[in-house]
Symmetry: C2
Subunit: 345 residues, 2 copies
Amino acid sequence: MKIAIDAMGGDFAPSAPVEGALLARERYPDVELVLVGREEDIRSVLREAGKSDLPAGVSIRNATEVVEIADESATAFKKKPDSSLTVGLNMVRDGEADGFVSAGSTGALLAGATLLVKRIRGLRRAALAPTFPTATGKAVLLDCGANAECTVEYLLQFAYLGSYYCSKVLGVEKPRVGLLNIGAEEEKGDALRRETYQRLAEANGRGDIRFVGNVEAKEAMMGVCDVIVADGFSGNVMLKTIEGAGKMLGGLLKAMLLKNAGTKLAALLLRGGLRDFKKVFDPNEVGGTALLGISKPVIKAHGSSNALAFCNAVRQAVEVARSGIADDIARDIDKMRIDRTEDGK
Amino acid sequence: MKIAIDAMGGDFAPSAPVEGALLARERYPDVELVLVGREEDIRSVLREAGKSDLPAGVSIRNATEVVEIADESATAFKKKPDSSLTVGLNMVRDGEADGFVSAGSTGALLAGATLLVKRIRGLRRAALAPTFPTATGKAVLLDCGANAECTVEYLLQFAYLGSYYCSKVLGVEKPRVGLLNIGAEEEKGDALRRETYQRLAEANGRGDIRFVGNVEAKEAMMGVCDVIVADGFSGNVMLKTIEGAGKMLGGLLKAMLLKNAGTKLAALLLRGGLRDFKKVFDPNEVGGTALLGISKPVIKAHGSSNALAFCNAVRQAVEVARSGIADDIARDIDKMRIDRTEDGK
């Protein structure tokens, strides 16, 4: 198993991806890592870390260009053919790596993955599928921003993608799939939601997925389902609201604990619990977001990833690769299609 | 000033609305209250509270029917003409009350308000406009579920409605209006968002509103704007996610504090701060959600409203009535219209 890491992507590149690779090598000794990016920059990080040589199982693939924020997402991979992003994706496409991790631009990674590595045949769109914390554990939310406008077929396919990911990669038996909506009843929401509801109910009837109906965001946070199907717009709103609410409440909590000597003592008494509390909303603990629907494992690590986040993203890439989920989806693709003559579209 | 209260709506009716009315009468002595509902039920609550007579300034308007969950939202007000909801709305329409507060079905209240009290002339849709807590204060979010599918004109009108509400009722000078989107740049989001962005920028250019651009949900939670404009679907997702995240984090916090003797001592040391912390997410502190765009004040109190929540909702109704916001909107309605010949629709 060999995972390529974009050494130039993210707020703390190249140090965080390089250190993340070294950490991953320690934690997962059967996984080889390839750092993709400017060799001199990578070597300079290694020198600063006091390592003159790369450890066995970690190598460098030189790539001279870097995709920048100013580059247009849709075309960056093409206009910078020797960028770490393009070189890494091509390695995956060509079988030189089993997966790719990048903390660079989401849009550029998605466009590059779609056009170089390609989607699983028959899938209309790839989806960003992060996990988020719930009151009882965690859930997968997709799509989360790759597709602002969705059709019924996209959402149907997201339901399958999320369900397979949840069972094959996260190990949840018979994952409960919910449709993000503004009410629980079948007829709630807009035309997109009402038709999707019917399609998901049919898939449930066939035993393909376990559809538990419409879910409101509040209930989703309480943990009533394992997979939440959403269009990329409202899914992104939900994800960003969770992040914002966590940040806001964390700030309030901190202010409360630092108020005076008494509250500081309280903070001391709670330190173990506070650490766990903080972990719940720490994106570094999750690692990254799988780009579901791409034919090979591509993981988007979040922009502010530290070494631990890169290490966790590598673990994710390995888990996706080992799960064989892409093969399962390809095999079952006919179940996820809407016959366009059937519904007159 | 006279406010009608639906005595039969909400999880704790009739006791919560009746007690809320008595509390409001104490707190706002220049406001008269009319309890609308089954007189015998209302009198029975009063007897249980040890009050044989109604205090001066609180009266009962008998209404024999009750809108139930099973009733269809769109037609309930019509099919039950002697319901507390219909009688209360008619009182507002006929000038017998200056505002109406109900914790009953949102859909039934919205349909009844739209068809009995009517929208301000020229407005395409009314919007649910709750306030939510941010890191720096609070913000108004609209629409939040009344309109799952929106046009550019609806969103443009919501921006004006929210801006007027925020300045005239909440007292924010030159409120900052943001468009809820999945990225900050002008071209982000779907076609609806891109066209709305242009319209809002034009309104800003004319000095009608203060448009600060696209905002992501995370930044909105941090308090970067005072008014957030959203379609009813994603607005509802944001609101419910805030509620869910607050509930989930509250639960985690509670578990952390009850863990052992040490953490219980910490809880004791923090009790003042914890009370404030809890208040931030307590919907009873807010009162209710204004139905903006209706020609007279109609406030939806949340379903689980207690007496304090009803009292706060009465205050809101009074504030909306005194603000004269409906007149301002009616006067400026031409600014909020999109000429359909102009954009070829």
